[in-house]
């Protein structure tokens, strides 16, 4: 979907230089973003990063202090929410408590002054799509959280918006229901072919659902990329830490090889590591990012970084271990069961060595280090 979308000459939504201040404090600054037709794009970031403000600007509930929002080439900044062909699924659903499910879903069409007969058929179709046909006469408070969620989605998409905005729609649901609704949302998006702009602070949700992820931090875009790029090749320490579990080993560049690979001193050992995405200079402090599943534990006599197992936990498909390295930080290793070694388990306190699959490391400039 992404490939087809990016091939199109012009984006559906185009944000340029968006900025917003509340009480003189910058909430968003210089946001540049292109969103393509039919794309599932996620705004990911911690609370207070500006993701919800950005979404509210798209919906028309906030006016940017600077910049433009173009939808199919036309600036929509001056349009009030009721004149924008975008609809929102609100965080707490914001269903009208005095209306039935049917009336809630019909609301948008009534506002368009659709003929009653058309409203009836379209609402019935929509309720069938979200599997709520038999609940049409209920009031929102008579529904479960997941059902209310589906009403909120049906109510927003029935207007056939160009873009659907979703503000942390799954955060009020329990874990299992959230998983189900994630699949449900993807199905609805595929069936309708609507562009989804999805706001969440849950990185796992962002990775599993999106075509592209926008990682926001303190009102700025830290990284824009596919879930895989964001996870495997984060652009900054912030992204590395925020998206997924991260082991960050301290290192210092010792030299740069002809092929771009670098010699790095890592906790007393000199290693040849893959080419960094930034220009490396000898003496520069770096962090080496390794995901838990990149790590390998060996017995004490093998080569690698020596340490001791602090914690061991069984996760079903993997065995997770926290290892305290003799030379530095605690690291998290997550190993898959191997049929050939049914009892590769390590006991707590057992000395081990830690290595990783060569070239799976990712180097980042150490922003924390004093310059």
């Amino acid at each position: 979907m992404t490939d087809a979308a990016t091939a199109k000459p012009s984006p559906q939504l185009s944000l340029r230089g968006l900025a917003k201040r509340f009480d003189g404090k910058a909430v968003l600054s210089d946001i540049q973003l292109d969103i393509h037709d039919g794309e599932f794009i996620t705004l990911l970031g911690p609370s207070g990063c500006g993701k919800t403000t950005l979404l509210r600007m798209l919906a028309g509930f906030e006016t940017p202090d600077e910049g433009s929002i173009r939808l199919d080439g036309a600036d929509i900044v001056g349009l009030p929410p009721n004149h924008r062909p975008l609809n929102t699924v609100f965080q707490n659903y914001a269903l009208f408590p005095h209306m039935t499910v049917f009336q809630n879903v019909a609301y948008g069409l009534r506002m368009e002054r659709c003929p009653a007969a058309e409203i009836r058929t379209r609402v019935e179709q929509m309720l069938a799509m979200v599997q709520l046909s038999e609940f049409a006469a209920r009031k929102p408070h008579q529904l479960s959280g997941g059902q209310q969620q589906r009403v909120a989605i049906a109510r927003a998409v029935i207007k056939r918006p160009r873009v659907l905005l979703l503000d942390e729609p799954l955060s009020a649901l329990d874990f299992k229901l959230r998983k189900t609704m994630q699949l449900e949302l993807k199905r609805i998006q595929r069936e309708l072919g609507i562009t989804f702009v999805f706001v969440t602070h849950d990185q796992e949700e962002a990775l599993s659902m999106s075509d592209r992820v926008v990682v926001l931090n303190q009102g700025q875009i830290e990284q824009l990329g596919t879930p895989r790029e964001v996870y495997e090749r984060p652009a900054s320490l912030f992204v590395a830490r925020f998206v997924g579990e991260a082991n960050l080993l301290p290192g210092e560049i010792a030299g740069v090889a002809d092929d771009g690979r670098v010699q790095v001193d890592v906790m007393g050992q000199r290693m040849l590591l893959r080419r960094p995405f930034f220009p490396a200079t000898p003496g520069q402090k770096v962090k080496i990012l390794l995901r838990p599943e990149d790590m390998r534990l060996g017995t004490a006599d093998e080569s690698g970084f020596p340490g001791r197992v602090l914690e061991r936990s069984y996760k079903g498909s993997t065995l997770d271990a926290v290892v305290r390295l003799d030379a530095g930080p605690d690291i998290l290793a997550s190993e898959f069961f191997d049929e050939d070694y049914p009892d590769f388990d390590h006991r707590r306190g057992e000395p081990v060595t830690v290595t990783w699959v060569p070239s799976w490391e990712w180097l980042l400039p150490d922003a924390d280090a004093p310059v």
Binding site: N82, T88, N92, A94, P97, Y107, K139, A156, A172
Partner: protein, 293 residues
């Protein structure tokens, strides 16, 4: 049901709780239930010139209420109370909305200002209005000074004066329940309505009005019911010309000494009140505020 109601009264393990419950029950029975039963009882008895009441059962008092004279007073009183209520609603609704939308820092102060007049007895405040409305009162002198009129206008002892007095005394009772529903009105429901294509007016009509209806009804009841009984306002501002049901009841008890008829009139007022409260209860149940998450 009844055991659940009465069991805590005899719960020896929680003496404080049962003590408090005895106090509440005692209070309600002694000061609410018994007086009302007495009033209802008396309303079915006959009048006696010496002992106030004679113990023989009759429906005459109720029959007399439907005498065109009293029916007229009742309808006129209802008319004035309704008028005062509608005006209170027209003033109170935007006021409550406004207060609920200013920054939270200012809200307590504004509500405090609304409560301040309660510190003065309402009878005293009614006399204060008289000073404003009188022929040589503040309003007339002002209008003459400005040159709008040359002769004082008759403001006092009119229906209008009574209605002004009713509004003045009862407006806070309209605003308080309205303020409470407006404060609970979730901003995201208004946003959702706009998001789905509703203009401000249609959001108001389809979301704000239905969502605030329990407050509207509560406020209207709190104004309408007392308005029909506030005899001293009619006395002070309306002279003897404007009668409310409350004046009829008062004069039957204190002037005409016809207790049974006064009791019947107040039973009628109580029944009307009960019916309105029932209607309120029903409507609140229909417009359930809470959305279970």
């Amino acid at each position: 049901m009844l055991t659940r109601l009465f069991k805590p009264l005899f719960d020896l393990k929680a003496p404080f709780r049962s003590g408090v419950l005895w106090l509440i029950w005692g209070w309600l029975i002694l000061l609410v239930l018994l007086p009302n039963l007495l009033v209802i009882g008396v309303s079915f008895l006959e009048r006696d010139p010496q002992d106030f009441i004679r113990f023989s059962v009759t429906l005459d008092n109720y029959r007399r209420l439907f005498d065109p004279l009293y029916l007229g007073v009742f309808l006129r009183s209802l008319h004035m109370a309704v008028l005062a209520t509608v005006l209170c609603l027209l003033i109170g609704y935007p006021f409550a909305w406004g207060v609920s939308r200013v920054t939270p820092r200012w809200r307590p102060l504004l509500m405090f200002l609304l409560i301040v007049p309660f510190w003065t007895n309402s009878l005293v405040r009614t006399y204060a209005i008289k000073v404003l409305l009188a022929g040589n009162g503040l309003i007339n002198s002002f209008l003459i000074d400005v040159g709008l009129i040359s002769q004082p206008v008759q403001l006092l002892y009119t229906e209008g004066a009574v209605i002004i007095g009713l509004i003045y005394v009862l407006l806070p009772f309209m605003i308080l329940p309205l303020y409470s529903v407006f404060e609970q009105l979730r901003e995201d429901l208004l946003a959702a309505s706009a998001d789905l294509g509703a203009s401000r007016w249609r959001t108001f009509r389809h979301v704000v009005i239905p969502m605030t209806m329990p407050g509207v009804i509560a406020g209207c009841l709190l104004v309408l019911l007392p308005a029909m009984g506030m005899f001293y306002i009619a006395d002070v501002l309306g002279g003897s010309r404007v009668l409310l049901v409350g004046n009829v009841i008062k004069s039957q008890f204190l002037d005409a000494r016809d207790w049974p008829f006064g009791a019947a009139a107040s039973v009628l007022l109580t029944v009307a009140m009960a019916l309105l409260l029932l209607a309120y209860w029903q409507s609140v149940r229909r417009v359930r505020q809470q959305v279970a998450l």
